[in-house]
Amino acid sequence: MRYIGKKIPKVDGIELVKGTPAYTSDFDTNNNSLIIKILRSPHPSAKIIDIDTTEAEAMGGVECVLTHKNVTDIKFTLAGQSYPEPSPYDRSLLSDTMRYVGDEVAVVAAVDEQTALKAIKTINVKYEILEPVLDLETAVDNSNLVHTQEPHVNFDIGCDHKRNIASTFYKENGDVEAELKKCDLIIERSYKTQAQAHAMMETYRATASIDVNGRLNIMSSTQIPFHVRRHLSRILGIPKSKIKIIKPRLGGGFGGKQTASVEMFPAMVTWLTKKPSKIVYTRQETFSCTTSRHAMKFTVRLGSDKQGNIKVVDISALSDTGAYGEHAATVFFVTGHKTLPLYGRANASRYHGYAVYTNKMPAGALRGYGATQGTFALESAMNELASEIGMDPAELRLKNIIRVGDSHPDLDGNILQSSALDRCIETGKEMIGWDEKYPAVFLSDSKVRGYGMAVTMQGSGIAGIDTATAVLKMNDDGFFTLIHSASDMGQGSDTALVQIAAEILDVDMDRVIVVSNDLDTVPYDPGAYASSGVYVTGNAVIEAAKEMKKQILETASRLLNVEEKELEYDGGNVSGADKSISLDELAQKLCSFEGKDQLIAKGTFGGDTSPPPFIAGFAEVEVDIGTGKCEVTDFVAVADCGTVINENLARIQLEGGIAMGIGLGLYEDVVYSKTGRMVTDSFMTYKIPSRMDIANIRTAFESSDEPTGPFGAKSIGEVVNNTPPPAIAHAVYNATGLWITDLPITPEKVLMGLISK
């Protein structure tokens, strides 16, 4: 292999570090753009009785004031999902009903920011303040409703707005109750996971203008350009052909930009005024007016025999989707779908419950997409079961994890075709020194180091739904353009896909340039989500590159007048029967009257299966018994992402995901006041891991060979988030004897637990 499995620098890495313009705002340098600011609801639940914008509209420099009175009330979802989206159409551009603190009341576009902000202050709104639903656990059948009208759904997702239910899910494999009766041991535990902020460094932003063809041009920092275009077409009531989308590099997304939170505002302003406009969310808006991870509550029942053979896995859950149901059904579904197969050898399994509406900021996609939450619950329960049986938790995993050839109804495609999870566990144990140190090492009277572990899986693309196409074009001196539309938000899809193309074409990587930013030229791709970049788009690139090679041989045969079967292609030349033509010559001939042709190849992929990557995570947590403070002094993560396509990119994904998981485990928490206002809406109040908080993260890869994957690869982007919270909770237990069952594991919780023990 020339490129696969190597440490390849990102194709655009050097220039990114040097600060070369690459992001939406770097290209959006039109100083005449209208600046958009939004007036937001101060109430979690309210009805606008009256809104007076007269003063704002009369103000010099104000070009556009939008309220529910003068915009369409068409309903839609902002979820970045393939059509028909499994999310309720429960939003409108601007509504008279406020469903969370931060919900949009009015949109103002003015010649500059100061004028827009001034204008917003002059808008008088009379609200009828309503009783909000702020608690996940009392949302169902609450007398107060978040949505009083029935939202449209494309198909049945169990939405019942009269009960504040956005989605209902029930799936049982085998007979759970009957199997539980046969178990020697049943444990039942409850867990809570909190909302988490994406906290990508580049806040949400989009810009709009009208081009010379009368088309609406949108440039946006988005993971889902094709879905954005579809949503905007519906919201504006104009054909998709009237909308051009440009998607530059993203300054991070983590799933946040899988919801089209901002594009509709400049789109509407520009479509109405025919003037360019832009919106750049403040950090406060990014925290409090977009989406977060779904907070969830779980009850887990595990049944086993005395030897620790798991017979039943039964999980019920409640998920808080907040004011709107973007991703409510799918995140809820994935929570079970990407956890139950882990212990697929059990006789019965079940996952069920509701995603409920509350008057909080909507939840949405966030790296892990429910599997993160489910892994905390399931893996914590597994650790508690190991403790009850008196078995090494690593042994319990090795005894029960799904193995190659095993099947599970929640495994897309049914049979597991690749896994190195057993080797991940063994390697992880060795790296952390499990056999010597587990369960705990006492450093002093006040300091204990506990050791804990967890395993996890995710998917690679969405089976039976995702489809991507890549195009390769040979240019006039024999270099290639790879045209695709996976969104590069840092994960390095542009680089990994060029590697794959260059590997098949057997050419230097710098002979393949990449275009991935303009929807007018790129073929369809659902977007950067569901861990699909390398697996789905990568497979499409393989097909495109193979097709290109075929075309090269056909063309050489024609130009050399040699039968194709006698020709060989070596990346530089096509040779046979004592004749040879270089790619350069071939390409140039195609631009001449003699050759007159252009080589354009396409490849398409859509997976029947979504092969799971796996990780075994091991935490060393130092607990200060006097203060309850927990510090992750070492974290070992060993991943099976199939073949590692690019070790640099895979490792950094793994390390970064573990850090994000440590944040979720220890301190990240989206907190609301009693009156429903988000209080963690800045980096001063919402803590993400800083350099000082991350001690050691050590990683390794145990490869497996996924037969459906490009060069045997599976995904790495999301699975990386999942093991830290349960592994840390386990380590804290081993250090203190306390099971912390609700995240994050703050010093207060540990200390209060120790005091009451």
């Binding site: 040097k18 300054g251 994960q491 690019n646 640099n648």
Partner: protein, 150 residues
């Protein structure tokens, strides 16, 4: 108002509104490497040099830089590229949005500290947040860079 300053070694007059922060002004004048990420002086994305020392341009009033020397990464391209090679060798730039600010802090540290310990490095760099990398890759890149160029 007009503010006379020097940016990357060239005299410049910045025209700005009263109360405008330097980060916004620099971007307006085409120094697009300067990113903003937090509005609260917390993230370090907007790090530039003020008279050779790292400063957060998002909390620095443009009016305050009258007569001062500003350096952005646009004025440090060669040195930045040297460091960038170490970053990309680890894949540590990831989304890249925090990288220019991070690099400016690294290059300042290289001038300020001689043979810094791991802790000194961590402390110096503490104000530069990154959500992608988990920091350990950045640290690897940085330590290898210091080994060769420190």
């Amino acid at each position: 108002m007009k503010v006379d300053t020097s940016i990357n070694g060239r005299a410049m007059t910045l025209e700005c509104e009263n109360g405008e922060f330097l980060a916004g002004a620099l971007r307006r004048y085409g120094f697009l490497s300067v990113k903003e990420g937090c509005d609260t002086g917390s993230c370090g994305l907007c790090t530039i040099w003020l008279n050779g020392k790292p400063a957060l341009s998002c909390c620095l009033l443009t009016a305050r830089v009258e007569g001062q020397e500003i350096t952005t990464i646009e004025g440090m391209q060669e040195e930045a590229e040297e460091f960038a090679h170490f970053m990309v060798a680890e894949g540590a730039e990831q989304c890249g949005f925090c990288s220019p600010g991070f690099a400016m802090t690294v290059l300042a540290m290289k001038r300020e500290l001689t043979n810094p310990t791991d802790d000194e490095v961590k402390n110096y760099m503490a104000g530069n947040l990154c959500r992608c990398s988990g920091y350990v890759g950045q640290t690897r890149a940085l330590m290898k860079y210091l080994e060769v160029h420190g």
